[in-house]
Subunit: 410 residues, 2 copies
């Protein structure tokens, strides 16, 4: 019988086609979760799934799941997944490469006339990026039972919209209960979004664990006053306090063993006038570390720093937890299968830690899971310059194919 | 004949009435220049001027000027002025107290049947605050010939509007050429917006000079990248660079002799996402000092710091000058007249420097000018908590009356 093989041109063409969907007036890729652009991307993906013979099912949180069960066995499926929502001014690979590689895998098995002993399910999870609605990885978190679907649907976005209403508006508030398919196993292909594989010249990353994430929103309240008449010594400047926090976070992260990272991605001042001392600063703090103890220690140091800042700068500080995920250890058996598949194809492979959060960490709560990484040029991601070589993408899809065959008996 | 006297209740009632105009949905006072709220405030003021027998004239930059010339002498007028536009979430005294005190002065002279040898002109200048359009003090700057009216009208606001179009929209694009009345002298009453008078228990400030102002917009460009996968050592974080600048500005201002002040009132990050390292930070820098040499030295140190920051943080820095005004020395004769009037009424008085910019500094370019300050509770301004006691406001208006009489021969 014929050997299944990835149709590379078709896989890459679809990646390019999806990359054209959801551009803003300035040409920036911006397929924010549950937006009109996201709807257009979902429509294209669902269409491709149906062409490939998949049954498209939508759950209440908007996850798009394509089911392929040629043998009609209705057993626990092997699930392949990722996401197609993006950040603002995004690259074209993050998430999309994994979803479309999964589609290419199923098509290659179908073309080769395989009937796996287990169904295959391809998932595109809602709102992985968490730019418009928090927390991120929301669709897979809800699917895995980590967040009640009602709570997720009630989330208010940065633009004041409510996720549940937006899903209805774009036609992706589905009937299925999140988690309606209990997977036998979950595998996700993703671009590394970091510099390790490229720097070491390694083709495949077998991701064995994933760093923990702590997201907090810090609000600092001082006193608005006239920028010209208020002596420096009499100011309660929320902006200066925020700046001191930003610089402290970098020093604290640098002081670690190089595994901790800290980022302030959002910072807003009020009243936001040139000649008025800021009365309020609202900023987000993103802390990550692969080791649970170190992440908790960083959070404790941050809390202590905020107390000291409130005293030293005579400001009031309030903190709101936006998201918190402990580090995750993936399934050793699937990680070994990824290594074995890579070696069998003559591809260099290394075990590694994921620096980013991924849907796989949520799915790991309900089934054995692991991830396949492919190199990111310059380690750049969440940026239009994000790039992975075609050959690396195809190699990753081929390893995914082999691992899925092994897990599904195809 | 009867002595002119300020009608205190009427003066204070009008101040309260103007304070009710231009509140937003949250009750915040926000009469930004050339907005619908500003239109409503201008309409109220123009109505009161006409009731008082003033001829209301509007110039091309929207300055509202009420002329009172009972003797029909058409000589160079003594001008009293300030502004009624406000910052965001403003107090009720800044600007408004001076304009309405001027109206009270003219009414008191009219009631007493005085016919001054010189006409009196009451001016409410456009866009003194500079929140929506820069530079601030724009109306008086244009009136004094310091900025071509065409350039001012072409200014694009923070909300993308064009000032000239907004003035037409609200009906205050007048026919008069800015500067159409060459004043014999200019006097402005204003709340101190600082803590000096209250702290020293002095009723009246005779403002003899005004500190210089330097406004710049700094844009810092780094690289957007993933907050989880990018090691601290490989980041080009525009937000961190901005924070380092904010903290440096405070230290540099504190290192001075207590006369220099530095403020970052606006700061914006892009792309403004929790999990993306900021690619761009755009912030405003407001530097002030009463001594020209010290202000220039601060600006030079800032330029040097920005060069160093670009090197140290591997970012690119560009600077745009928004406004620049040298320190101003007011007319010694008018300053003495203010002191004399205060003493004659048994009011404590001291000479002082204005920490804020005022329309008077622009008018000082074309005629003898000076200012009268009254105490600000707690030194607070540009804030809803801004407050000046009624008795202090009335005392200031009475000193203004005496000075205007002396200058106009009323």
């Amino acid at each position: 019988m014929t050997m299944p093989a990835i149709d590379a041109p078709r896989f890459l063409d679809r990646l390019a086609a999806l990359a054209r969907i959801g551009r803003d007036a300035d040409g920036r890729l911006m397929r924010l979760a549950a937006s009109d652009a996201d709807r257009a991307g979902r429509d294209a993906l669902a269409g491709w799934m149906r062409e490939a013979g998949l049954e498209v099912r939508i759950d209440r949180i908007g996850n798009v799941i394509g089911l392929w069960d040629p043998a009609g066995r209705a057993a626990a499926p092997v699930m392949i997944g990722s996401h197609i929502d993006t950040v603002i001014d995004a690259g074209i690979y993050d998430g999309c490469a994994g979803v479309l590689a999964g589609l290419a895998v199923i098509e290659s098995l179908a073309r080769a006339g395989r009937t796996p002993t287990r169904p295959l399910a391809l998932a595109a999870f809602t709102n992985e990026e968490g730019v418009r609605y928090t927390p991120d990885m929301m669709g897979s978190l809800v699917y895995a039972g980590g967040l009640p679907v009602e709570a997720a649907l009630a989330t208010t976005g940065t633009d004041g919209t409510v996720l549940g209403e937006e899903l209805v508006r774009i036609g992706y508030a589905g009937p299925e209960a999140p988690g309606f398919l209990q997977p036998h196993a979950y595998v996700e292909l993703h671009v590394e979004q970091g510099p390790v594989l490229e720097r070491e010249g390694v083709a495949i990353g077998a991701v064995e664990d994933l760093q923990g994430i702590s997201w907090q929103e810090v609000t600092i309240e001082g006193t608005a006053n006239h920028a010209g008449t208020t002596p420096m010594s009499l100011r309660r400047d929320a902006g200066v306090a925020a700046a001191l926090l930003v610089t402290w976070l970098r020093e604290r992260a640098r002081a670690g063993n190089g595994r901790s990272v800290a980022t302030v991605g959002r910072l807003r001042l009020e009243p936001d006038a040139i000649n008025v001392i800021p009365a309020r600063a609202i900023l987000t703090v993103d802390l990550r570390d692969p080791e649970a103890g170190r992440l908790a220690a960083f959070e404790a140091d941050l809390a202590a720093r905020l107390d000291a800042l409130a005293r030293e700068e005579a400001v009031t500080v309030t903190v709101r937890r936006l998201a918190r995920f402990d580090p995750v250890t993936f399934d050793p058996g699937i990680v070994r299968a990824i290594e074995a598949a890579a070696r069998a194809r003559g591809l260099s492979v290394r075990r590694m830690t994921s620096g980013a959060g991924h849907d796989a960490q949520m799915m790991a709560r309900i089934c054995p899971a692991a991830m396949i990484f492919v190199p990111s040029a310059g380690g750049i991601s969440h940026n239009p310059a994000e790039r992975t070589a075609d050959a690396d993408l195809v190699a990753g899809a081929e390893v995914l194919l082999d691992v899925v065959q092994a897990l599904s008996g195809a």
